[in-house]
């Protein structure tokens, strides 16, 4: 096994251990103390608005698949979709989902159907929309515009893998005067979302939807585990800088290359 492979296993085992540890020691959601993220606060508010005025949320899951670097963003979007459906069970209309990837579209339909069934939403209100809008970036963006412009849509949530075409979606939401909560894993699109969305989700905030919208203990534990690993990374970076300053500048590289 290469040094990189060994490092990978260590990181995963560390994550799993930390997540299990934090799940065991956490007592309840109320004791969890996380920094507020405006995007998730806005989603909760918009669910309440949808319950009151009979409107619905639009969740756009992007055009990432499930087999590449874009997979986690799409899966995080599906997790958020599930949480939103559970929280909006009192709504007249369940959230509508749109995707630009066929696999994600099937998973979205399955999530909507499965979650609605689990929370006993009446069959007639189950709207299995996990619409595949288009498979190229622009066909996806243009196709999604009709859903955004639907008068019954009160807010738009974009979570998944997007490119520069996301500007079409965010500005369309702005023109409809509906709140736009947007997060992606792609850096250029993050910059666009920061400039154009009313509530952008930056960096890892995209993956924290479950923890902030009422997911289980494991969601909360995963946030705590991320924080611990982040501190470890900070110490490694600072340690590398110090080692570099005192002249031992290939220490970390040697460990990763397995030459020590």
């Amino acid at each position: 096994m290469s040094a990189t492979g060994f490092t990978g296993i260590v990181v995963i085992v560390l994550f799993v251990g930390l997540m299990i540890f934090f799940t065991i020691i956490s007592k309840d959601r109320k004791s969890a103390n996380f920094r507020p993220i405006s995007g998730y606060k806005k989603i909760s508010e918009e669910i309440n608005v949808a319950v009151e005025d009979g409107s619905q949320l639009h969740i756009s899951l992007g055009r990432g698949g499930i087999s590449g670097p874009d997979a986690a963003a799409g899966l995080a979007g599906l997790s958020l979709l599930k949480q939103v459906i559970e929280k909006s069970s009192m709504c007249d209309y369940p959230p509508v989902a749109s995707t630009g990837n066929p696999v994600l579209s099937i998973l979205a339909q399955d999530t909507i159907r499965g979650t609605s069934k689990a929370i006993s939403v009446a069959e007639k209100h189950t709207n299995p929309y996990g619409e595949l809008v288009g498979v190229t970036p622009f066909s996806y963006a243009v196709g999604t515009l009709t859903t955004i412009r639907d008068d019954n849509v009160s807010a738009n949530v974009y979570t998944g893998w997007f490119g520069n075409e996301v500007i079409w979606l965010t500005t369309a939401g702005e023109r409809q005067s509906s709140p736009t909560i947007a997060g992606t894993a792609q850096l250029p699109a993050q910059a666009i979302m920061y400039a154009s969305a009313s509530d952008p989700l930056i960096g890892e905030e995209l993956y924290a939807g479950g923890a902030y919208l009422g997911g289980g203990k494991m969601h909360l534990a995963s946030i705590s585990a991320q924080d611990v690993i982040r501190w470890i990374i900070i110490f490694i970076i600072m340690g590398s800088v110090l080692l570099n300053l005192i002249g031992i500048n290939t220490f970390i590289e040697d460990i990763l290359a397995g030459s020590l």
Binding site: V16, I66, G114, R149, A185, I192, A195, Y207, A225
Partner: protein
């Protein structure tokens, strides 16, 4: 007694396959099994495209039937889809049965319809991006938005390549911004994304998140 086995079985299969594929990255001896699963996944993804198109057709047929103000667009979409499909089938028949040159009509559709439309949309995207950057201070007048706007302005001014408008000092600032704070920030964001990606993957492998109806 009504026992539903679908959810536990699908969950067990998903977790099992996920663990084997993950382990295949680190343990060379099971790499071949990983490739078998990945290839199977790719074939299933191709079938999913077909299912997705059927879903697209059914959704837009419903929109045409209802009192939807966008039903005209749905009709155009379905007609375009049908025409492109027929052209593709004719091309395939001509190619495989009569040995005519490769997919001429399909290529014509892509070169003369799809490509110009997507190029125009790209041009509109550029305008939309400038509009979004210009309007950021109107929407969010906070410290970070001000920094965002002025850094963007500096980068744009430093990027001019026409000789009379080239400002050497700004060019140096632009290079420094791109190489130091922008690169550092991008790495920080990528680290956060990587951490989020790992936890999302682990939650799915542990069965806490089940995006497959389990």
């Amino acid at each position: 007694m009504n026992i539903k086995l679908n959810a536990p079985v699908s969950t067990a299969i998903a977790i099992g396959v996920g663990i084997i594929v993950l382990a295949g990255y680190f343990i060379p001896s099971i790499e071949s099994i990983r490739f078998i699963f990945l290839r199977t996944g790719l074939v299933l993804a191709a079938v999913a495209l077909l299912v997705g198109i059927i879903n697209l057709i059914s959704v837009h047929l419903k929109k045409i039937g209802g009192e939807n103000e966008n039903s005209g667009y749905s009709l155009i979409l379905l007609i375009s889809l049908l025409v492109t499909l027929v052209i593709g089938i004719i091309d395939m028949v001509q190619n495989y049965l009569f040995g005519q040159p490769n997919f001429q009509m399909t290529n014509w559709v892509f070169t003369n319809i799809q490509l110009p439309i997507e190029t125009s949309l790209l041009a509109v995207t550029a305008v939309s991006l400038i509009y979004a950057a210009a309007s950021i201070l109107r929407k969010k007048m906070d410290l970070f938005s001000i920094i965002f706007f002025f850094v963007l302005l500096l980068i744009l001014l430093g990027s001019f390549s026409i000789p009379p408008s080239t400002i050497p000092f700004l060019s140096v600032i632009r290079v420094w911004i791109l190489r130091v704070p922008a690169l550092g920030g991008a790495r920080g964001l990528l680290l956060g994304v990587a951490l989020g990606t790992i936890t999302t993957g682990i939650r799915i492998l542990m069965g806490t998140d089940r995006p497959y109806g389990g």
